[in-house]
Symmetry: D2
Subunit: 479 residues, 4 copies
């Protein structure tokens, strides 16, 4: 089944959920909807497709969600109608046709104990299995998001539990995969993370009020003080009487595995994840890259914006001059009309434009965070040459993508990955660079020295922290 | 729980479902979405709040629904993306705050056998009970419409049934109240009515394709030939192989009871319900009214548009001249800014305006279909007097409203009904008329002589065809 | 030059201006923008394409205008920003591509004495000539509406005048054609009509405040008392000190000639034009039609809504029973998706639907206000036959259209008129009726006995009250 | 007079016109509207309030303009209707209430020779004087933009000229101030600049087609080759027969004076203005600042995005490490809900967020392009201290603003400028910095060594290239 909103609708595969969540339990008379608005606004980089806010007041949940950016969806009028004692919010990104309003979060439902709202970031590995089980019991599904299966699990567990937090604690072993979860029941706000802690979730405080956010930059945005991260497998519950309580029944069974790509690309540079500055991680990647993949060049240029931080690190380590050699147009909105093939061939430079003046006659090290299909990279190399660069040395502040991600990072299917089953030389000639370098996978630990967690680098190594569908493919094909 | 779209949101009570449904099973290569668009457009009078269309193709259901009129919600672009072999559509009216996009129909879900779409017209009497049962089993609800409970019942019955039609047949005894139902499964289109047949549902044919509609005017709209009505309690199923099949397991257990208010107000005059012309029924009401509540007057004026047909009947029977003595502004849209109290007192005439020229110095019989709270009526009587009418005799082409409706007609709570516990004289003086007359409840049978059904007039008599919550109130208060 | 808003843009010919104007000069602390909103809303039938309101406060004019209906364009927010001591408003209808926001009225400009806002209804016959003269003097035009030329004339005359009202009085002889004009200067509100009084304009009063409106139904709408009509050629000015002043320098030079089509079709039935009730005029037309074009028939049916009033008159005069034999769908909005040719052939009945029950086996007199191209009429006759009518007798409550209108009524070019150069028999067979009758042109005076004005019936007779471009065509072709 | 679109409307003062223009004369069958779309998109930084495109085909001009960003205003549908042989486009920025659709450009008019479209960047110094003269001649104005006065001048001069280009050449001496102008007549595209060349305008070429743009980055965007700049006072005309012709009648009368603020802030870093790279100019400013205003510090941080380029220059020259120490949220749209005063006090960090990790315990040199009122700067210094900076040294890559600009740069009134009549020490303590440094005005020439033009630095020095209203203020107040 599928719905659509203005655009064409295809159902080719399940959407990846790169998302952001924000929640607040108020004890100070704060405007929870407005704070959630600002929180989501600062998490906008994690999802630009749809967003939503649910507030709870007097055991009644109101919500509003729609396709669009936070500042498009929420007007003063809408926000002023969302009064409450607590709120959760969500920004969502989806890579394919499942761009539908029905799939926006939070998911607001009614269950045996009243209202129940859920927002989550991450992907379940047993989502389809759970759905099938529920359907076999006569249940129905109205969306294609994992939140709906999670809601069923929690609603089911609630029957035999003394409290909603107990139901969430009991649900964790049944929900496999990556998830950072916010749940709002009539009187409580609950936060939880999967046992591997694959997606981030931090706790903050404004006065006596509790705040939860995917990234610490959202705590900064609302003027909240960072308290600590929710632990992998932990369930944290806020209510009026008891304040903040922690349930660690599911903690420490396994080694934490934070998604390494949060550091490389997803998170904002001003966030700290598991204690490690994202900006510093990227600069470290640049430094390591300079050490392991040096280049004889005149200037270092980062691809804006994703390669800029690593470029500074590369420049520092190598001593090669850092330049803003490429400009990115900041006004590329969702409705931008793409140029025709004919125009693209006439070397239009709409999104990115190199500075001829800087580049001309120079040997350039171009730094980007990662390479997926290679098409953008080839275009960038071409632009630099058109602008007069004598040599173009591509360096990526991450290892080559080789394996699918089942935990919420959007990696296209393996055959589309430029590095899959290709030699470095082949890739180099595909993108047209004079040389090519990747961050060695062995250095990822060095990249995040302050991180108080292990990490998942399965997209680079194929070493998944838990059983995934790829295991079957691998067996079949003998990889 | 509740959501809202632009407007304020209150949850005071369950919305009444005055709605319209349309469905088509195509065997001729017709554009099912476009035909559903036209069908819904001709049922727009049954619901102006939201609408939706779901189409099924290759076992996959696509749908689009939103707040607004049919011609606002559906553009050529949207329709062109709804290709399919069958379709169902819905227009919805809701009287209170539960104006929310989530509550728009059809409800599209996934269940054990694939996609399942449901559109219905009517109100369940055991909706809350069903919800509670399901919640006790760990299920969740995402809307406040009965369709969701119906979907759970059907999905549950499907487990022990050989086919979806068998599941629907089995579901009928579990779903109490008033409903005309269209269900779309991956390969079948199913129509069903409650055992009393409280809401209409007709079958039509275009070539070899089957059409279902709440009213026959929708069959006319799409150029379909009327075949017959779905019988009370009947389940009709269309599929590719067998054409149209009927299941009458639930038929004839009880006496059919068509909602009499469909004839009085809800349906379009060019529809036939249970074989009886709605226009003729209204003219009959006017004739009966002239006979039982005559008036010594110069002209007969109908309140546009709902009183016009009865006014013709009254004029014919009484011999008093029929005049278009009051004009209705046709452009009153949903976003119309209501005048302030101060303006209303200065006798602005925005929606209705009497023709002074016609009315001045005349004794006028004003005909309307029915009176609810009496406020509109009092304003109309005042307008007529301001316009110079010498006498104003109010006549209503229905008995006085006295009891709540549990079957989908929007009647406000009893204390708000002007006729509740008031004498005719009191009501007359409240509305300021020179005389007052209602259609005697005993004449309702005479009003619809051609109708091949009994009827429900519980809103006038309190005689409900099945147990309803009012029974409890009545016992408590000793009415 | 041309602009467009979303739709395709053609510039084929100058748009006809069937419009409505409303103005108010407040002396009572009224909300002038809101009253103008209600006034325009009641004039919506005169123009559904665009609308606008300009208010004046402290010599500063603010305005808002856009494409769309009054209740779509104006929200509470917009209205609340339009505070002022006086206001003028406009609704506009345009038949062709010149549907552009720039052409919406009022036209708000700055001239030598400050702000100047103009709204008018009607068409100039020397508009092109004026434009050419001004262009030859180095002036520029930003719209294609006559208001801009009128503004230039007034602004030019202001230079040699003592007051803006003197400038308007002097302008009248230079502006030829049909116009009812509202002009707002920094401190005055001025109303004027062309010397023939081709378009209506009435004066009303709310307390001490003055109101002007194209039709009296707008006075009723805002609770204003009718005072009198602005006279042909008269200039009326309101200011704070002197109240209402009249300038009749241009009056009574010629015989007044009200557009007869205002009575036949354009105006609302509850309006009085030049003292004559529009509803009564239409009933008279029906009575005259019955007398001059009788029919041997069972029922009289009006084409809704334009033929209903005349149908009552026909029924009264002939004694043939009046029936609501055809239903019109009230929800046909601007964005309605038109059915394909193939669907139309399958006799879909979307906009109009006959009542088979009433029509079947009957000899029907169908009454409509007028016939232009004959296509709609042919479709109606076909529908009636499909619904079982034994005979269909078409009667039109106006003479046949034969000549172009240069004064603001939208008549297509002569070759498209079904009656142009065709015999009655030819027309009858084109539309497929059993008989055909028009209101004789000689009876138009009988139709409007109470009208205190002569009338223009040039669209039926070719007898124009002033020189028009058609004179040249006629000479060339020898008509 | 004023209009508004959704937002409140104030008329406090004439808007400053920081704008961008783009034009194309096609000789190769290019899609001129689409190229203009991309050109405007790359000039979006020069104006985000409204935009428009006018195309000319067969002597007929079509146009579309509206409030909003280029990618919001123009859809594929709209663009596909704008077919033509030439086009001009405009992006507009306005600082105050005169945000009205009527003021969007291009201005499309009709004059004695047919259609005339005008787009311009800059501000006239005799705009009010011209308006008054025209009004005294009986003319009217419909907008408050200078384009309307320019159109009147050109239309008037056209009467005595042999060609439109001659009219433009003759108009230049009558139009005082700053303007880069594109004019489209029925068959010609004309570009012109004021005699001082205060605003940039470049010529480019795609195949045989001619392109004009405010900045060279727009030439890059559409794949055009840079040909040369339009000279100060020059009129350049394109037509089908003669190609590109230049008229230099008004050239070289005065010394060219390019607006220095184009280099400092307005233009995009990848543009070249008068031969000088904007990026290099900014880096030079940073280098000069390091030389003249050194600081004893640990890191250099640029305020994103306007201070980043100068920060690199400062770092290079000083040897102090360059860091991305502050993050800017990229999603700040036009409809962003501003935080309440109370929230702002709780140090929310919505738009900018310092990286505590980088800043903590450090002595920081913060670089921004310029300081106007000081409020933003004070907030930035506060944020840096909150984030743990030990010292904050503010450095501005321009001299202090002291005088109004009459040529299109938006400088608030003198009393609001933080540097006006205040000592360096006072300013320093207002913003709370540990030290404060500005680029010395004497070094501006060193900043733009490659620029083939003189420059206007009146906003810093009060030395205006031509008589301006400030001369009167200065005399009165004795500055």
């Amino acid at each position: 089944m599928s719905a659509f909103n203005g655009g064409p609708c295809t159902d080719s595969h399940k959407p990846k959920e790169e998302c952001g969540v924000f929640g607040i339990f108020d004890n100070d008379g704060l405007d929870v909807a407005q704070l959630t608005y600002y929180g989501l606004f600062s998490l906008q980089h994690r999802g630009q497709e749809s967003c939503g806010i649910a507030v709870s007041q007097n055991r009644d949940i109101k919500h509003y969600k729609n396709m669009g950016l936070v500042n498009e969806v929420f007007t003063s009028d809408v926000l002023s109608q969302l009064k409450g004692e607590m709120a959760i919010g969500h920004v969502r990104y989806s890579t394919t046709g499942e761009s539908r309003r029905e799939n926006a979060q939070p998911l607001v439902t009614k269950y045996v104990k009243g209202a129940l709202a859920i927002a989550h970031n991450g992907n379940l590995t047993n989502g389809d299995e759970l759905r099938e089980q529920f359907e076999q019991r006569g249940l129905i599904f109205q969306t294609t998001i994992d939140s709906e299966a999670i809601a069923y699990v929690i609603a089911g567990e609630r029957l035999g539990s003394k409290s909603v937090e107990e139901a969430v604690v009991r649900s964790i072993p049944r929900i496999h995969g990556a998830y950072s979860l916010l749940v709002m029941s009539p009187r409580k706000l609950i936060a939880a993370r999967d046992v591997y802690g694959l997606r981030p979730l931090s706790i903050g405080k404004i006065g006596n009020s509790w705040v939860f956010a995917s990234e610490t930059c959202a705590l900064d945005a609302v003027g909240a003080e960072f308290v600590r991260d929710v632990e992998p497998g932990e369930v944290v519950v806020c209510d009026r009487e008891r304040g903040l309580l922690s349930f660690k029944d599911n903690c420490r069974a396994v080694q934490p595995r934070m998604c390494i790509f949060e550091y490389i690309y997803i998170a904002r540079p001003d966030s700290r994840i598991a204690g490690m500055s994202v900006y510093e991680a990227r600069k470290n990647a640049g430094r390591l890259l300079a050490r392991y993949c040096p280049a004889d060049a005149d200037i270092v240029v980062g691809v804006p914006d994703s390669g800029l931080d690593a470029a500074i690190g590369y420049s520092e380590e190598s001593g090669i001059t850092y330049e803003h050699g490429m400009i990115r147009n900041r006004y590329m909105g969702r409705t931008f009309i793409q140029p025709s093939q004919e125009m693209r061939e006439r070397s239009v430079r709409l999104k990115l434009n190199p500075l001829r003046h800087i580049v001309e006659g120079k040997r350039v090290v171009m730094i980007d965070d990662s390479m997926v299909r290679g098409t953008t990279c080839r275009r960038i190399v071409g632009m630099m040459r058109d602008a007069g660069a004598k040599e173009v040395h591509m360096r990526f502040a991450s290892p080559p993508f080789l394996y699918p991600c089942y935990f919420g990072t959007d990696v296209p299917s393996q055959e589309l990955l430029v590095a899959w089953r290709r030699s470095m030389d082949d890739v180099k000639s595909i993108i047209g660079a004079d040389s090519l370098g990747y961050l060695p996978v062995e250095t990822l630990g060095e990249m995040i020295p302050d991180a108080k967690t292990g990490w998942c680098d399965a997209c680079f190594t194929g070493k998944y922290p838990m059983p995934v569908p790829y295991d079957k493919i691998r067996n079949e094909r003998g990889y």
